[in-house]
Symmetry: C2
Amino acid sequence: MADYFTEAHSAEVVNGRMGHTVNPRLGLVMSSLVKHLHAFAKDVGLTQKEWELAIDFLTRTGQLCDDERQEFILLSDTLGLSMLVDAINNRRPEGATENTVLGPFHVAGAPLRSMGDNISLDGKGETCLFRGRVVDLDGTPIEGARIDVWSDNPDGYYDVQQPGIQPKWNNRGLFVTGADGRYWFIGIKPVAYPIPDDGPVGQMLHNLGRHPYRPAHTHFLVTADGYQTLVTHTFVGDDPYLTSDAVFGVKNSLIAPFIRVDAETVWRSDFDFVLTPIARAGTAAG
Amino acid sequence: MADYFTEAHSAEVVNGRMGHTVNPRLGLVMSSLVKHLHAFAKDVGLTQKEWELAIDFLTRTGQLCDDERQEFILLSDTLGLSMLVDAINNRRPEGATENTVLGPFHVAGAPLRSMGDNISLDGKGETCLFRGRVVDLDGTPIEGARIDVWSDNPDGYYDVQQPGIQPKWNNRGLFVTGADGRYWFIGIKPVAYPIPDDGPVGQMLHNLGRHPYRPAHTHFLVTADGYQTLVTHTFVGDDPYLTSDAVFGVKNSLIAPFIRVDAETVWRSDFDFVLTPIARAGTAAG
């Protein structure tokens, strides 16, 4: 291996400098990163000016981050990397409910509700009965499954984005299944909303001719002893942004029916969560 | 092309969302970036935990940047990307002096000196006579070439790193060649020094079993009308860090002789700068 840097062997020279006592997994990840980073620069013939723009973009992305805003996660989301990492680490057997991204708005500790409770505390939006079962791959009901649910309100904001405007825990709740594995509660038909687009990521989306919207969805975090954690959403099937989700979260199997029922309940959405036993976990890396 | 995200077609799905009116060069660069980023995550089977570490690393890297410190450039330097971009954009014909990285310590506006002047203003270090010629590819002397030179002092710091300790413009100067293309001035034999290693990049180097040192070098920025700008260093040949420069700046052709002469001048370093006419510019992209 060449001691000095050459354009032709650039990645090999960089990776050849790694010490012999480096953690093997770190060595593997970093040498692959360097290989792909250099291949990218070579493939496009990256100019000095473009390199400067990239340094500036990354710097501004880091400097916008604080306790409320994580612009690097937004960048990962909008480049499809978050969904890819989720997919790699959550391969599920045929018939199991698929994962999708957690998103930034989950709050641990949502209040425990009784089946049938209404989690819409601000009275806004079109009422919807959510119901279904939590079952094993063979259809056996799972007792004691915990269903943590959260969604935006019809203005397109989560409660944590509007403290003082929305009641705390608005459109959030925790439900625990009984022996029949069934759940049912009243919420609202969610609405589409834009991800924060006033920073470098929003600028990038604009320059790529992409919009910042996520199609309407309700978040579910479903856990049960002995089963893989399910992090998912259900999507409203008629949403115009379904095929252009800014963070690529939509999967065909996660589009739920939203059926108009009557004047009082208005909508109903049936969806079963099919959990994967831990023993059947996919071949996730690491 | 699939509308929804799949692990198998992740990059195609993301790039398929680009608008039709996107700037063609931006579209090319971004789609290559996404392709390589996704291939990297797939090749190593990036775990959720590793993704979180990466987000945290990038965030801290951005937040350390300010007017004095550019940790993302340091990251690019230590991953060999800065040298690669320099190489891609400054391919030179056989016989021409090669480029290397500019580094963060160049200051525009160095005082004009006369040939033979001593640029070491703090009197520290081992005196060295630097001399040589600025010539065309065919050896013709170039008149009016501007040689901007800068180096650290023997404590391993540039003047701008020690305001109030080192005199302003210590070990810096601008020289202009006459009809014979010759230059000569008194400076010092430079010494090795570490790049700033108290941040995320230093942590990365440590974890990769790499040290933060750059081998001893003198910077030169040589310009002349009608010729490509030459950004380079000359290196001291006996430096122990020569084959392990933390930023990969060393090229074989840039190792200059440092010859011990006598008690007064101590060292002499002869080096000719061979400039490339603009018409003979390499096939740099963009």
